[in-house]
């Protein structure tokens, strides 16, 4: 009796479920038509601004000199900055914001060292590969 019921409804049920899952998948992938929110435009702008702030910082001559003295090629680090996630960039930009406008070289060195630490950690986690001596944990 039970076998009969399963045989009877099995196929349509399977098809139905397959269709359900297909719809779910399409629902997730398809972009949402409609107004693009101010919030998302602002977020994109903020990320962009933070990224260029970090890039500009590394382009500064005094910063590059400090990095040279630390034995790190400036363009190498700049290339790796590009691979950092938005969240990581925001973190570094927030740190740079703390610097006073006419920061002395000592402060700048501190900031650079901070960024090195961030990159070191992300290297260890395997997100970045700035330092050749770091063996990532995965």
């Amino acid at each position: 009796m039970r076998k009969q019921i399963i045989r009877y409804i099995g196929k349509p049920l399977c098809l139905f479920l397959v269709l359900c899952f297909l719809t779910v998948d399409v629902g997730i992938r398809s972009a949402q038509a409609g107004m693009i929110s101010t919030e998302s435009v602002l977020a994109a702008q903020t990320n962009h601004a933070a990224r260029s702030q970090v890039v500009d910082f590394f382009a500064r001559e005094d910063v590059q000199q400090v990095m040279m003295s630390q034995g790190v090629a400036a363009d190498e680090v700049a290339a790796r900055v590009a691979s950092l996630s938005d969240a990581e960039i925001m973190q570094i930009a927030a740190e740079l914001d703390q610097l006073p406008a006419g920061a002395s070289l000592g402060t700048v060195v501190g900031a650079v060292l901070f960024i090195f630490v961030v990159l070191l950690i992300t290297d260890i986690l395997g997100y970045t590969k700035v330092f050749t001596f770091v063996q990532p944990i995965r």
Partner: protein, 320 residues
């Protein structure tokens, strides 16, 4: 970590403590450094007209908010504010509920941090709500008060605090208690007023909050205020378009999106939103032309633009 958890525990208590806790502060050993931002003029400032509301029981937050709203011409009914701000079983921090309550009245809540912004706001004629920890970091007593002035010569800050209007506090004590609250401050202004310490991104973030609180006409005014200060602000024009559309002001929405599109001719986002407004207004041919232009621009959101086109076509298809 420990400090943070204690902090939130303290907020949950909502302890607006009084002056007994000053004894604790006086015995604190942190050295006081004169805030360098205060050295420039003016030497002294006093917003003597700033209204005062005495707090009830533990409700320093609503009272402080009421003072800022009343200063900006809002007809304040304190018990209503207390209902919106004060929560006996509050979870987490109280600051967001103060910000939210200001937005619900259609006012813009602009957070600030630190001395230079505090002085800029006072100079601009706005009293500033601040959070203080009147206790110690490991034994917090949180309290909201309103700064209405200061005097550099006498090293005093003047506050409307608790049940004391125009209370004077030494700058050292103020600095230490404010620092323990991470220098949190807030100004509350009508959407047509730009706070003196406002920067573009921070201001727009505050207006997005107003928009999210569904105060669409207030948000429109605030975004347009931003476009006066920063005429090239793409986000401000997008925000003005989105909010005015939500408020039912099609003409302003169309004008704003066109302005945004002119600022970034290679960006499809303003065109996408403009097309939807035009379609809504029954201008289908124009809408389709605009969305086709957006699709031609490409970019990350091209798929969204395509969906928008389909939506416009589907919505305006003749029904047989």
């Amino acid at each position: 970590m420990l400090e943070r958890s204690l902090k939130s525990a303290g907020r949950r208590w909502l302890a607006c403590a009084f002056f007994g806790s000053f004894i604790l502060i006086a015995s604190g050993c942190s050295s006081y450094q004169y805030p360098h931002a205060l050295r420039p003029e003016p030497q002294r400032l006093h917003l003597s007209e700033a209204p005062f509301f005495a707090q009830q029981e533990y409700q320093c937050g609503p009272a402080a908010l009421a003072m800022l709203l009343a200063w900006n011409g809002h007809d304040v009914f304190l018990p209503q504010l207390e209902g919106q701000v004060y929560s006996p079983e509050l979870q987490g921090s109280l600051q967001p509920s103060i910000v939210a309550a200001a937005r619900r009245q259609g006012y813009l809540a602009y957070p600030l941090s630190g001395w230079s912004e505090l002085v800029a706001e006072l100079k601009g004629g706005q009293p500033v709500m601040i959070l203080q920890n009147l206790g110690l970091s490991w034994y917090p007593r949180w309290h909201y008060a309103v700064v209405i002035g200061y005097d550099q010569g006498e090293k005093r800050v003047r506050l409307h605090s608790g049940v004391y209007p125009g209370m004077e506090m030494s700058m050292g004590v103020f600095e230490r208690t404010w620092r323990r609250a991470d220098y949190w401050g807030l100004v509350v202004v009508p959407p047509s007023v730009l706070p003196s310490s406002a920067t573009e991104i921070a201001y727009l973030t505050a207006v997005v909050g107003l928009e999210r609180a569904r105060q669409f006409s207030a948000a429109t005014t605030a975004y347009l205020t931003a476009t006066k200060a920063w005429p090239d602000s793409f986000v401000a024009w997008i925000g003005a378009g989105n909010s005015s559309y939500q408020a039912g002001d099609t003409a302003t929405a169309i004008r704003s999106f066109r302005q945004a599109a002119a600022l970034r001719p290679d960006d499809g986002i303003p065109l996408n939103n403009l097309a939807l407004v035009l379609a809504q207004a029954g201008r289908r041919t124009e809408a389709l032309a605009v969305i086709d232009q957006a699709i031609a621009q490409g970019g990350d959101r091209q798929e969204v633009f395509r969906q928008t086109r389909q939506k416009i076509v589907a919505d305006s298809a003749p029904i047989n």
